[in-house]
């Protein structure tokens, strides 16, 4: 329950930041995908059915504020949760470095999925330079990963949760 409350609050804060700051500041693709970082944190450190459901809910929450396809980000965040879970389980590690790599790849995959969701496979004039932009956003998100992981670790300690991998 504490885990659920902590991630719910963190997701709401992340969403509030993601929906307002990029609009008021001209930073465009430089905005990190904070909710994705939370899903990776969850996947690496909380191995249970609840974690998967929370990742799905986080994706659904993004869908509420993004794009026109309800379910797209829910799918992607569940998938990225699963990737993070599998990596941390088989590498027997919850290292931040692995998290950084998963966030980088996850941000690019999510961006690609959103692009396909938005434009289909139509390669029009507007798609030029998409990959570098996605890679840039992936890199920015990856840069923020250690900070978000640290904040979540602090939050978990504050509410009395274990900060390493938890198997419910």
């Amino acid at each position: 329950m504490r885990l659920l409350a902590l991630y719910a609050i963190a997701t709401l804060i992340a969403l509030a930041l993601e929906t307002t700051i990029p609009y008021w500041l001209p930073i465009g693709m430089l905005a990190p995908n904070l909710v994705l970082i939370l899903a990776v944190d969850l996947g690496m450190k909380h191995h249970g059915a609840l974690g998967a459901m929370m990742a799905f809910a986080m994706g659904y929450a993004i869908d509420s504020f993004s794009g026109t396809h309800l379910g797209l980000n829910a799918f992607m965040l569940t998938l990225i949760y699963l990737i993070a879970y599998a990596l941390s389980r088989y590498l027997i590690s919850t290292s931040t470095a692995i998290g950084v790599v998963v966030v980088f790849i996850g941000a690019i995959l999510t961006g690609l999925a959103n692009s396909i969701g938005s434009a289909g496979l139509d390669v029009g004039p507007g798609t030029a330079g998409l990959m570098p932009r996605l890679a840039l956003q992936g890199a920015i998100s990856a840069l923020f990963t250690p900070l978000v992981f640290a904040i979540m670790g602090w939050g978990k300690r504050m509410v009395g949760l274990r900060t390493r991998s938890v198997r419910e």
């Binding site: 929906t19 990029p22 500041l25 059915a49 004039p125």
Partner: protein, 282 residues
């Protein structure tokens, strides 16, 4: 329970089920009032107060920050002068900001009167979480009489249409989103086409017959044929016309009349006017 197949593979099984559920949501699409949309609207309702507070804070700082980003190369040269001006004219800036806001609101009121229709004014409080989709979050919702598919305009021109409406907030799909499309025509030549967004946020007019006389500088206005936007609203201005390849249609690039990055207040038309006499101010 522990040690059984289901327990050992619970993460993969749960994730698999949720992935299928997400695919189902995606493939089914969401119709207005569908159960799948309700939690999403509840989230919009929950986040609105936070977004409003953030928007208020941003309002106070956004002018400075936009200036910073726009003039980053010359900022060093002007920094001392700016500090002086900021100190001496702090109060005047605040008053000027109020004046601008008042002007926006009175422009909206004038526009509403000109449209001779019922309309609700709303404030922009947020944007899409990704750069790849183009939606804005507005401060009014179903309590203010809004519903899905209502047209949203600004004093400059057409903005978009509502795609999700929570009790106290709503989301508007901008006309430059790739999923957006509206029926419009060239005001001078009367050539009709569909104005759609491109992936990079630019606007184009599709399906304009290559025999049509469309020229750069022409105003593009809504035709009213799509059943959403009333006839005669300014969409934008033609910037480039080309005929590439053996296709049947012209490539028409349009500069939108509204500046989506700087929108602060918008008007949502809650009743379809018969026809707009004057174009919105552009």
């Amino acid at each position: 329970m522990r040690g059984t197949f289901l327990w050992r593979h619970r993460v993969v099984l749960t994730s698999g089920f949720l992935l299928l559920l997400a695919l189902h949501l995606l493939s089914a699409g969401v119709t207005p009032g569908a159960r799948a949309e309700k939690p999403s609207l509840a989230l919009m309702w929950m986040l609105k107060p936070v977004q409003t507070v953030e928007a208020n804070i941003a309002d106070d700082t956004t002018g400075f920050l936009h200036d910073y980003f726009d003039l980053v190369n010359v900022r060093q040269e002007n920094v001392e002068l700016r500090e002086q001006v900021a100190t001496l004219e702090g109060q005047r800036t605040r008053l000027a900001e109020l004046e601008v806001e008042n002007r926006h609101l009175s422009d909206l009121l004038e526009l509403r009167d000109a449209l001779a229709t019922r309309a609700v004014a709303a404030r922009v409080i947020g944007a899409d979480t990704t750069e790849l989709s183009r939606t804005l979050i507005l401060s009014e919702g179903s309590r203010g009489g809004l519903r899905r598919d209502l047209p949203v305009i600004s004093t400059a021109g057409v903005v978009g249409k509502l795609i999700a409406v929570a009790p106290n907030a709503s989301r508007v799909l901008l006309i430059n989103d790739h999923n957006s499309g509206l029926d419009a025509f060239d005001q001078r030549s009367r050539a009709r086409g569909i104005v759609a967004g491109l992936f990079n946020g630019a606007l184009t007019m599709k399906y304009v017959d290559r025999t049509e006389d469309v020229k750069p500088g022409d105003a593009v206005v809504t035709s009213g044929m799509d059943g959403i936007f009333p006839r005669g609203l300014l969409v934008g201005q033609v910037t480039r016309v080309s005929q590439e390849g053996p296709g049947l249609f012209l490539n028409v690039d349009i500069q939108p009349a509204a500046n989506f990055q700087k929108l602060e207040q918008v008007l949502i038309l809650t009743q379809q006017p018969t026809e707009i006499a004057p174009n919105p101010k552009g």
